[in-house]
């Protein structure tokens, strides 16, 4: 079963430091996503990415955040100058097709196991 791989599984950082979370999406998937989940709370959309550019982003995804596909396989989320409230589980996901009508289920998201970020 193809899977989405995320590293690191857990990162502890000091407030103000930069963090890069890495993801390897499923190889034939073209659409990539980052979600955030603060402990025990809802899964929040951060950003979607296609064709080397951001498709959609939420109000959470401010200038502190950036995403990149530096090569053919990795998809990264960078958080500059981390804050205490950035502590959360970050999930990467990928899909064959984009969200939106008419893709008949090809837009089902496959999630990675998550990267837990703890900001001290």
């Amino acid at each position: 079963e193809p899977e989405v791989t995320q590293t690191p599984s857990h990162q502890v950082t000091q407030m103000g430091q930069e963090v890069i979370l890495r993801c390897v999406p499923i190889s034939n998937h073209l659409y990539f996503y980052w979600y955030r989940q603060i402990l025990g709370q809802k899964v929040e959309f951060l950003v979607s990415f296609y064709n080397n550019e951001i498709s959609e982003k939420s109000e959470i995804f401010d200038d502190q955040f950036s995403v990149e596909r530096p090569d053919g396989s990795n998809f990264t989320l960078k958080i500059r100058s981390t804050k205490l409230e950035d502590s959360a589980m970050y999930f990467c996901a990928s899909s064959e097709a984009p969200p939106g009508r008419g893709h008949a289920g090809a837009n089902v998201l496959t999630f990675g196991a998550g990267s837990r970020l703890t900001v001290l």
Binding site: Y33, Y35, Q41, K42, V43, E44, F45, S48, S55, E56, S58, F91, P98, P99, G100, R101, A104, G105, N107, V108, L109, T110, F111, G112, A113, G114
Partner: protein
């Protein structure tokens, strides 16, 4: 904007049934259901694409009422393995661009 789920939490005994509802203030084009075990990633359960569609596998099924902008997930004869947090997911957007968002979540605990 985020779909609202009810109940927020439910505790069941093994073998009991449960219904989880997902309501949206905006039109739902499709509804996906996911289950998340503690500390793990959400796992896809099923997708409903058309209003009125009902789907199921094993003892978990779902319905989609496009007109009412609602979906319900039915868990029948619950098993211990059903414990987790259930999220509905839906696509929202305009002008050809969409994003995929999740509902508020329902915590389900099944006791022996």
């Amino acid at each position: 904007q985020q779909p609202v789920q009810s109940p927020q939490a439910v505790i069941l005994r093994e073998g009991e049934d449960a219904v989880i509802n997902c309501s949206s203030s905006k039109a739902l084009y499709s509804v996906h259901w996911y289950r998340q075990k503690h500390g793990e990633a959400p796992i896809f359960l099923m997708i409903l694409l058309k209003g009125g569609e009902q789907k199921g596998h094993d003892k978990i099924s779902a319905s989609f009422n496009e007109k009412k902008q609602q979906s319900s997930l039915y868990l029948t004869a619950s098993q211990l393995s059903y414990s987790g947090t259930y999220f509905c997911g839906t696509e929202i957007g305009t002008s050809g661009t969409y994003k995929y968002i999740f509902g508020t979540g329902t915590r389900l605990k099944v006791l022996a």
